[in-house]
């Protein structure tokens, strides 16, 4: 058995000291009729060599298709240093930094994470991470309801262009507290500003805007932000940190800026890995920080006046406030935040800009080339950031299946979430896709379209 250090001599000595003769006695407080006979159904132990062989087989079965899928998770290049360092035992196998003096490494990293994420979003305060972008949005809604002093509303006005899964997760999480998401319609690939007039008489705790939108389009964030503030609602900005290397930060939206921003930190050095672990972030203005859920690290001094870091503002948290906490979150995504911090440190502002530019250029190249094929067109020409929608002359599913046979992951089929867009497909080419990769896609797409519908 691989992980238990006890020798027979140890066991004998320990049993004696514990005053018993047999390990099974240690379980004698379990009622007899609840005892079981072991876990044979789990099967025999595998050696390290055997499990390695098994997992390598499984991994190979998954293949390595050429990925043109974005839709909320992006294949960016991750420098080797990021995970080499993040998986060092001292980061990897530490617990939450409750004993600050023995956790200055993790605490300082998180303080640096908070700084970078807050600054990218142009706001004052960040927490130490939430589970993922979707739950961060749900927490942002809860926080907005708590924080909005002008409104008692439990409604959030949300653009239909906010990621469908973000809306779905928020619905799950908000239902207990009867908070409701009200949908703002779309038009021409953007949130329909004209439709705002239908909501002037309703009271909202917040208006939530994703920029770039789920479809990759840029929103009129200034108008939406100002409208919300005029109507007593807070503004929640949902962002992609990679885009913030180039785009205006939520803190700069409209006249006053958004109040809360959140998003998925995956693009910052986190592998796709089937959807997680990723890292959600939540940032806000200082005025409402005591409504923030989750852990927060602060800088302070020790008894000798030396700077140091510690978990702070814990009176918001479950382990202190229990049923009155701002959230039930406890374990967060510390290690992923650590990796993201290392990634952002390696890239710097200029590095992120280069990647963002390159992704953007690649996606434009792809969209342009696809739309040059007969049977593919562009449904709208709203400016986009690194994802784009194309429209097919046939159902998307079959087309994608055809590409998949050629080892290409062709993008996200929008027809279930946005039937109003017809046979619409969301494509994305990050900096990892070369011109040759894009050409392969276009060639495969051309071939797929030649098959009769």
């Amino acid at each position: 058995m691989p992980f238990i250090p006890h020798t027979d001599t140890d066991i004998a000595r320990m049993l004696q000291r514990a005053g018993i003769s047999d390990i099974s006695q240690l379980f004698d407080e379990i009622p007899v009729d609840l005892k079981i006979d072991g876990l044979e159904a789990i099967g025999p132990a595998l050696s390290e060599a055997e499990i390695a062989q098994l997992m390598q087989q499984r991994a190979r079965a998954d293949g390595e298709p050429l990925c043109f899928m974005g839709a909320g998770a992006y294949e960016h290049y991750i420098p080797a240093a990021v995970w080499d360092i993040a998986t060092r035992g001292e980061f990897y196998s530490a617990y939450t930094p409750y004993q600050a003096e023995a956790s200055q490494g993790t605490l300082q990293v998180i303080y640096e994470f908070q700084t970078m994420i807050a600054s990218l979003n142009g706001l004052d305060v960040s927490n130490a991470s939430l589970y993922d972008g979707a739950t961060a949005f749900a927490e942002a809604c809860l926080m907005a309801v708590r924080a909005n002093r002008k409104s008692k509303s439990k409604k959030i006005l949300v653009s239909r262009l906010l990621s469908p899964v973000f809306r779905s997760v928020a619905t799950t999480i908000l239902q207990g507290q009867r908070i409701e998401l009200v949908e703002l319609p779309i038009r021409n690939g953007q949130t329909d500003i004209a439709a705002l007039k239908n909501f002037v008489d309703e009271d909202f705790a917040a208006v939530a805007i994703q920029n770039p939108s789920f479809l990759g389009t840029l929103e009129d964030v200034d108008t939406l932000t100002d409208w919300a503030h005029e109507h007593g609602a807070l503004v929640i900005g949902i962002t992609n940190p990679m885009s913030l290397a180039l785009l205006k930060a939520p803190g700069q939206w409209g006249t006053a800026g958004a109040d809360i921003a959140c998003g998925e930190g995956q693009p910052m050095g986190i592998p796709l890995s089937s959807g997680g672990p990723y890292v959600g972030y939540l940032v806000c203005r200082k005025a409402i920080m005591r409504q923030m859920p989750g852990r927060i690290v602060g800088r302070t001094v020790d008894i000798e006046g030396k700077p140091g870091f510690t978990l702070t503002l814990q009176a918001r948290e479950q382990h202190i406030r229990r049923s009155k906490a701002t959230s039930n979150i406890c374990t967060n995504q510390g290690l992923i935040a650590t990796a993201a911090t290392i990634y952002m440190s390696l890239m710097g502002a200029e590095g992120l800009r280069q990647v963002a530019h390159s992704c953007n250029a690649n996606t434009h190249m792809l969209v342009d080339a696809l739309c040059a094929l007969p049977g593919i067109s562009q449904p709208f020409d709203t400016p986009l950031f690194h994802e784009g929608v194309v429209q097919l002359d046939r159902p998307v599913a079959g087309f994608l299946m055809e590409l998949s046979r050629q080892g290409i992951l062709g993008g996200y089929d929008l027809s279930a979430d946005y039937p109003e867009l017809g046979h619409a497909l969301l494509v994305c080419a990050t900096e990892q896709r070369s011109a040759a990769d894009i050409a392969s896609y276009v060639a495969a797409a051309g071939a797929a379209l030649e098959v009769a519908v």
Partner: protein, 493 residues
Amino acid sequence: MSEPLIFEYQSVSRQGFVARSASESRLPADALRTDEPVLPRASELEVVRHFTRLSQLNFSIDTQFYPLGSCTMKYNPRICNRLAMLPQFLLRHPLGGVEHGQGYLQTMFELQEMLQVVTGMEAVSLTPMAGAQGEFAGVAMIQAYHAAQGDTERTQIIVPDAAHGTNPATATMCGCDVVEIFTGVDGDIDLEALRAVVGPQTAGIMLTNPSTLGVFERQIQEIAAIVHEAGGLLYYDGANLNAILGKTLPGDMGFDVIHMNLHKTFSTPHGGGGPGSGAVGVSKRLKPFLPVPFIQKKGDLYVWATEESCPQSIGRLSAFMGNSGVLLRAYIYMRMLGGQGMERVSDFAVLNANYLLHALQEAGFEIAFPERRATHEFIVSLKKEMRDTGVNAMDFAKALLDHGFHAPTTYFPTLVPECLLIEPTETESQHALDGFVAAMISIRKQAYTDPDKVKEAPLTLPVRRLDDVRAAKQPDLIWQPAENNTENTTAGS
């Protein structure tokens, strides 16, 4: 040793990692940001050096004994990390479709099945991303169940005083009212108190068994009967599964829903605060409400169960399917243990706890529930030491750091004064436990001879005790550039 902030470096950051030329942007000018975000300007060497040095400031399982009660800080096998990071796993897009994921999906399916076996539940969903989210899923399922029965008055969740903070917080988050009940002197729940609070308003009860007091709730069958008779359901907080693996099943105890902290029992790393996994298991009657997605087998193919096939599901809890990488690590670890290995986990987790309890008791420390068997953890109370010397549990904790041991959990559960909740786990040797006992004895000795010295601890760590009051009163939560640091923006060329 201390390390400047990464922002204090002023070098050319690593450039040229994106050699593919980026053509001119088509972004409209008014969409662009005009300020420079506060990101580091450090060379690759500076970044590597900075974070390597920071890592050395941490205590961790890989460097210290870490007997943090309720946290199950056991060895995280390196092979689990290695295999979970195989390139195909890392590159798999979450929306990649089942044709590009049979290896991954089969693994997840088998993990669901193994978790059913170890808990005795009917079905498992892996999607919750930590224990607290598993709790949320559980309470939401309990609510959905009552709602499906048309039973709309059940708004109360009963929670023992010893419960972890996430339990009451979760109940509130779900919109329930929390009803607290107290623990009896022997560490078990007071059945009379329980009978007094159950009723038609009872949605359910949240229990940990063994409880966070480190004892097994012996009357669990009676409790189940009381709650079920009242029409409520039972939630099992599975943070303490390490104590009962292969010994007994929450399903047999009468629980309707359970979450498991895979990052505890199944040894995925805690990463300085996460990620975790709070997979949930349910009894038959809650099966329709399981959060999506989970994995089903259709013929030879592993496929997703989603909202479409599970119309009564409480819905989604994460953008994709939770912390897949954590789930892979748990799967690998479980396969390496096998059934017998799992039984040995609880054998030795419990042996270590009981041995340590006796060793500390022999050394004269007060044990909170001396008449009971310890499970995988137990509580020492330093009430007497505090009264005699003024040295409290916190001081002991800090002094332990100077002895090279991470401190146990302090002041939790709150019902035992000056408590240390100690969980050694099965992966520590007798030698490590003996070292811990020796440190405790030596600290107590110093408490009686030179209490002020103990109150000064830690002395050997990167910082001394920190001013938490100042941290909260004058929050300094992000670094701000002292002045405008634009001087160095252009790179040496």
